[in-house]
Symmetry: C2
Subunit: 414 residues, 2 copies
């Protein structure tokens, strides 16, 4: 993509109304735009990042047998009333202009909706287990919407639901989801801790969370750096804290961001919707369920919180909207322009995703500042100096020194 | 994909509460599920169809310079109040549990939101034109929600917005969008008529629509079959009706489905948000805008309305969730199973999208009925009879006679 036609341009000033690093950098880079508190638009580059995260999550969900579907945001109140969750403050109500009472809740979770759907089709053990997920917009009436895209009133979420004949089968799948989640976070460049926690409105029993250490996180965990074990604060508070029981290392305390959670739901929802299956002997049982969430837009924010420096973002390889940022520096006679265009074409032909700063009216300083802010993994500069030295200047985002590379070698280098 | 693990199974009975063909066939085929009036879930196959349509629309939007973004469903009332549209009945209001007045409208269109965003970044003629689109969920408080996915309270829409320095530049792009739309509908297997109509709440001037002839449509157009010209009813009513002015053919009258529309918005929204640009001489002007919609979920319904027979759906090639439906008929000794598995693997390796009916407990009649209902373009049957005759039975969905084909020839045939 040519940067001259990229909307919007970056902002060079600090924003006074965005205290978090993710909102500050994502807004200045033009990845997102805040429409109102906790409500963001994803602009071109931001939507590309979201697309990369969705792709990774979708691939790993499909790999464990998940099938994708898409449920409505308008959740008829009948669904949430069946589990007495319609009244909860967490939700928004939806009304017509002439209505006095809410017809719908704005979907903040879909256990009820999906249980109602699945129960209409499945009645035999032969049809179980099944695993269904969606990547969809969720809504919560957050009063603390101040952490950028980490905690929004409207956000993108992947929610997977599994349906089983027994708790044993549920927990066997539960482990597979845990492994898939660890792969997802690794591909997103995140170092996560797996913790056990109590459930909130979602569940009747213990739940598990995936936590990323960060100062802006709203959770607190106890963790061991050496063997990577971790525990939720409320569990750790009633246990010994000083030394890790697994490896003997020090136990540390840290604020942390919850990027995913998994819940053994048991029969809570199947009971509410009388969702039973018949076993091989003709006996009826309630279906056993699990649910598994990942905040897609929150992941984007978390990645920025973890991977940034004073100059901007450092996107992990699989998440970056573009692999390379090709920067053209104007020269007398147009030599660098011709060379830049040639390299741009060659990289695209080789299948490299490249953002091409083809702007004529920006200074080198502005171009370099933009490249640091936008955070593509590799920066390639074409200047009179680089051509004289035999090619292009190349450096990774995290490196401070540039190297000269022949233009025909770029492809294999990146 | 193996049909044994496809959720849900098809329904064999007619549905009494779905009068339209699209809802009837899409529900029986398991493509969609009705959660409440005008509110549908897209199940696995349905979401795949939506994915195919999104891909086509995205490709054609990118080809005319469109860049994708994603705006929120929660539209702060400040946006719609700026153009006095917040009060309109068409919208839903969103409230918190403890609120007495709506905080947000649920986005039914995004002219205001995007104009407000773009106006924050663009101030010079050098930054124009720009073209931005999204594929996103829209909400309308429809009282007539009875035509399946043709007219929902919640639906998927592609909305493109363009920003220009002049009306001349707008209309030059307008023509490009028109051509892109014609390509999209052709790829979706639809024969469209381009009509001129008056604008509703959206516009201050004449608008244009893309209409597909169908008895379930809620619009009426006058059209000429020979030269493909068409006119909106209200315009035709004040003109001569008998003969087409272009070719002299008969003018016919037909109910019709509006699948897309394009609007020259002029300066209505830029005026409301004081969105001006500076020209080369330092003078300020209001930005000229256009907006361009396609109903993504409505397209799915329209395709089914146009492409169905008494047995089920006939998906156009680019829209079908799978290119081929491979049907295994059980045999004594398992010979057909082995052969089916081999063909399934070979087709997938060759990059053919294939739904594989690997079910052991369904009768041939049930399998054939499902294949007709689900509507993949090519049906391939592996039976004892087909193997004895030298391969597989193959037929296109619209054909009534099967042919025998060597298993090694399938790839080149489809």
């Amino acid at each position: 993509m040519r940067q001259s036609s990229l909307f919007p341009k970056t902002l060079r000033h600090q924003l006074s109304d965005e205290p978090s690093a993710n909102a500050q950098l994502l807004t200045r880079g033009g990845f997102v735009f805040k429409n109102s508190a906790g409500v963001y638009s994803y602009l071109t580059l931001g939507w590309m990042v979201i697309g990369k995260i969705k792709k990774i999550v979708g691939e790993e969900m499909n790999a464990i047998g998940g099938a994708e579907l898409y449920m409505p945001a308008l959740v008829d109140r009948k669904y949430l009333e069946a589990t007495d969750r319609f009244k909860l403050d967490v939700g928004f109500d939806v009304l017509g202009k002439k209505d006095r009472n809410a017809i719908y809740a704005l979907g903040w979770t879909h256990e009820e909706v999906l249980t109602a759907i699945v129960s209409k089709y499945i009645s035999s053990y032969k049809d179980l287990p099944i695993y269904l997920y969606q990547i969809q917009t969720k809504f919560r009436n957050e009063t603390r919407a101040k952490s950028g895209v980490l905690r929004g009133k409207e956000f993108l979420m992947k929610d997977l639901y599994s349906f089983h004949v027994s708790e044993q089968d549920l927990f066997s799948y539960y482990e597979k989801v845990k492994e898939a989640y660890l792969k997802i976070f690794k591909r997103c460049g995140l170092d996560v801790y797996f913790t056990t926690a109590g459930g909130g409105a979602f569940t009747m029993s213990a739940t598990h969370e995936f936590q990323v250490l960060s100062e802006v996180g709203e959770d607190e965990i106890f963790y061991c750096k050496i063997c990577k074990t971790a525990k939720n604060k409320e569990i750790m508070d009633i246990e010994e804290k000083d030394k890790c029981k697994v490896c003997g290392g020090d136990i540390l305390r840290g604020n942390s961001i919850e990027v995913g959670n998994i819940f053994p739901l048991g029969t809570k929802y199947s009971e509410a919707f009388d969702f039973q299956f018949t076993d091989g002997n003709g006996n009826k049982h309630l279906v056993v369920m699990g649910s598994y969430g990942i905040g897609i837009s929150r992941l984007m924010g978390t990645i920025v919180e973890v991977h940034n420096d004073v100059k901007g973002i450092l996107w992990p390889e699989e998440i970056a909207p573009f692999r390379a940022h090709l920067i053209y520096l104007p020269s007398n006679g147009g030599k660098t322009r011709g060379e830049s265009e040639k390299i741009y074409d060659a990289l695209r032909k080789a299948g490299v995703e490249v953002l091409y700063d083809d702007r004529e009216d920006s200074t080198p300083g502005e171009k370099f500042a933009d490249a640091d802010l936008l955070g593509m993994p590799v920066r390639i500069v074409v200047s009179e100096k680089s051509i004289a030295a035999g090619g292009v200047e190349i450096k990774k985002r995290e490196e401070s020194e540039v190297r000269i590379l022949g233009a025909d070698k770029i492809d294999e280098e990146i």
